[in-house]
Symmetry: C3
Subunit: 208 residues, 3 copies
């Protein structure tokens, strides 16, 4: 019987995998390439986190992530033409995944005895690094460095998680506050199109 | 006295390194860049596998991979103009490398007690991830996500390897069956131009 | 009270972070993206090294790297328009960082009992891999594979470090000789525009 957090974890994995598979389909990848791209988005961030924390990556201990990615691929193949009408649903799933992955990453690092700044970075890596891997694989400049607040939402939520932890709140409260913060920051950022300031460099500097 | 598997390992490393060095030369990399690119193709997949399995990467325990890459660079520098006439030889070497790297990766994961789906992924990573690293370094969309069956051959061969293992076959039989499967699938895919289906996404989706 | 080596380490981190942030600003990244890019340049090479050596990455044990990157971002935001007149200063900082990171990486691998060729590779990874990660993130072909001697300076300096170590010199002498070699090779290469030979491949090979 899966717990509530596990069900959210499956939803997040599914949403992240769909996001990778859709971008892969825009690049004309074949089914296998799309599956790999979806899997990379879903587990890439957690894998980097677990390698840095020196524990076995979560997807190597439970085949559910492979199954979730397979279901996401099937879903895109069957409903591909209709997905464009479901952008709001997918955005909500993605924000849920971002929130949940962030609190999972934060909690894992704190449980292993790492200091708070490591925990916040691990939470952000879990949430946002999968998208960076996806963009590197499909040969695009990572969107999260230019779009509305995305990884920044993980940093804010991770900080909230850690604040609750320091105040002695129990695990469920930390997760709820941290996750809700990520979700709310992300939704507000997209709703009101809030962006961080851009650095204004000389235009030609990149060409050197 | 090197064993038969070790000799195949050297041939595979050499073939993979040549493939990286040739693409680097098309991008006008200097000798050092070409060497790094060739080395990344040859050992990149195995390094990712060993980091995930939490063991010391193979190339850190034996300098033969560095020497093989050096020989590959020398060979491209000396025979560069004639390599174009040797595409069939190089393709055969590459398929041998793919087959051998896959069975090495599978076997290593199973020996460490991991479940079969991890072993198949580790075999595929060992065989195919080096090529993905190469394409990321030279800033191209990874070919293996769009070309004829490549990484898929690793998955099929890894499954064959695991089936033999489950049936109680000894190590050599598993390696022979798994490796031959990868080789045959890869050769047939290129000979008859077999591709996986492509996802048909809206053309403009990637531009968002 | 920080030691002399630690002060050099901070300077190197700062210089590497500035290099990442400046390229990010040319790509119109926002502040967060620029910070991540600068941090990746500053700690990316050392992180790959520590993952391969199976030790905890240095930045996870000391927040000074995060602070250094923050100072670098602040500096680029405040003095952005004037940085173009400070290219010589920045180049010197970068060469100091390259030299120091190389000797740190070499020393760490030798202390852990790895053979000399691993130590030289680890030194070069520490010095040069951050720049490769930066170029992959901003979606450019890595410069170090085509520019004047850069990573090659790490290889030469690492070899010098190891030669001193073999001759029984004490740690400080190894560090001084290795670091000075990297610095001198790098400065001479840029001063006299020394490049390694380029592989001349058929122009169309990359398009296959």
């Amino acid at each position: 019987m899966p717990t509530f957090v596990q069900i959210l974890d499956f939803i997040g994995t599914f949403a992240f995998a769909v996001s990778g598979i859709r971008l892969a389909s825009a690049k004309r990848f074949d089914w296998f390439g799309a599956y790999v791209c979806g899997f990379a988005v879903a587990v890439g961030g957690g894998t980097i986190r677990d390698v840095l924390l020196d524990v076995t990556p979560a997807w190597m201990t439970n085949p559910v992530y492979l199954v979730c990615t397979g279901l996401a691929l099937l879903w895109v193949i069957v409903f591909g033409r209709h997905i464009v009408h479901m952008n709001n649903t997918l955005f909500t799933f993605d924000a849920i995944g971002l929130a949940l992955f962030t609190v999972v990453g934060c909690g894992k690092a704190l449980d292993l005895g790492h200091p708070f700044w490591v925990a916040i970075i691990m939470g952000s890596l879990t949430g946002a690094a999968g998208g960076v891997i996806r963009d590197v694989l499909i040969n695009e400049t990572p969107l999260i460095f230019r779009k509305e607040i995305y990884a920044m939402a993980c940093v804010v939520g991770g900080t909230a998680y850690w604040a609750c932890w320091e105040l002695g709140a129990n695990g469920v409260v930390c997760q709820a506050v941290g996750g809700a913060t990520v979700f709310v920051v992300r939704v507000l950022a997209v709703r009101f199109n809030i962006c961080l300031p851009t650095l204004s460099g000389p235009e030609d500097e990149g060409k050197k």
